[in-house]
Symmetry: C2
Subunit: 212 residues, 2 copies
DNA sequence: CCACGTTTTCGACCAATAGGCGAAAACCCC
DNA sequence: GGGGTTTTCGCCTATTGGTCGAAAACGTGG
């Protein structure tokens, strides 16, 4: 989500939403406030620090240090945004202001990486979803095709999928109705990493380098 | 590595090395400068941003925002440090100033996580090392025992170990002399992550959720 | 100098996970 | 009801990680 700068420097170029840190808030509160106040985005399913961008000349004029965040919104919510703000496809980004293009690059890389070893994928989907929808999100974020069969099996083995019992109506071209699932938080927060190196006694025999 | 604060606030408590960001440097240059100037640590095998700590009351007095880093030094180098500075075992840390204890906690967590899906383990070891040494580093960083057999096989399969041909002399209690290895950087930087989700066409059939 | 303990190394075997494929199920439209 | 479409499920294979035990290579003490 980008908004078009009205003033110099870099007028008419697109930039990431953000703003100045107040003295009475931390950086996460700040970015949540900016998103809520300026573009009315409040239903963030995931927020995490990305990195600090601090090159002395990243912005013309006085030095500005930015703490960049990766924020995700479920694909079913479509927040009202002001007229100077627009959602863009990450594959077709316009010219961006300052170093914001590299920030987006870092965010994409981080999202792609974390999809494999965390539960972050669920932050992209609505509370109830079909495997096909989830696969489409994974494919979009990763940039290559993902098999629904495998995705379902892998996530099921990790005890992350819980069938709701309901089904989604098939599309206009027919097809078997898809089963609906929800994210099964068995004591695991959405953003927790899997135990890639299993701690002693946990139930993940394969995957990692450990020998408890 | 901590140094003991001489002045209030939090006098006599231990704190992480650091200092103020100058206007002509970015945060990584800054932390490298601080480490070089103040404690003469220059041979960092790995430096990465950890997180921004920005709670308004994290430091008494005027607001201070800190960008915390994780920095690693190979286990064979032992830099000269000033008299008020000391290396501490992470399992026996003294009372620390400000929020530095939580920073260390985050660093430990990050290191432990990244050991499994990156090559970061090599940043802990000297250029030539035995599997036992590497295992000890892994065990220390992870907090539980790691099998040398497994470690060698896993890293070998990932093409990260390259035998130097030499051997290390056995210890005072005898034993077969250990073979020496070096990190085999086949175009891969020490800190690069493994391809946990393999991009299409790469040679990593198992591990991950993808189906290219 | 030869048995003994020690440490490392290697091979064999097992368990668990991921990927591929095809068939069956359940739906639409004509 | 037949053909096309989409989802789901079950087999099979490949690769990885974990365990175990034996063999190799060393120092030491009798």
């Amino acid at each position: 989500m980008l908004w078009e700068r009205a003033r110099e420097p870099h007028a008419h170029r697109w930039s990431l939403p953000g703003g100045e840190l107040r003295v009475d808030e931390d950086v996460e509160s700040s970015i949540r406030r900016q998103l809520a106040e300026k573009v009315d985005v409040r239903q963030l399913s995931h927020v995490e620090q990305l990195a600090v961008f601090s090159a002395p000349d990243r912005v013309p004029g006085p030095r500005v240090v930015a703490t960049a965040f990766l924020g995700l919104v479920p694909s079913d919510v479509d927040p009202e945004v002001p007229s100077d703000t627009m959602w863009h496809c990450v594959d077709e980004l316009p010219a961006m202001a300052f170093d914001h293009a590299s920030i987006v690059g870092r965010a994409r890389h981080r999202l792609g990486s974390k999809l494999s070893y965390t539960n972050l994928g669920f932050a992209l989907a609505p509370p109830e979803f079909t495997i096909s929808l989830l696969r489409d999100h994974y494919s979009a974020a990763l940039g290559y095709r993902v098999s629904a069969t495998n995705l379902q099996r892998v996530l099921s083995r990790r005890l992350l999928l819980e069938p709701t019992g309901g089904t989604a109506p098939p599309g206009p071209s027919g097809g078997r109705p898809a089963a609906l699932f929800r994210f099964s938080a068995k004591g695991i927060k959405v953003t927790d990493p899997f135990a890639v190196l299993r701690p002693p006694g946990s139930g993940r025999p394969a995957g990692g380098v450990a020998t408890p």
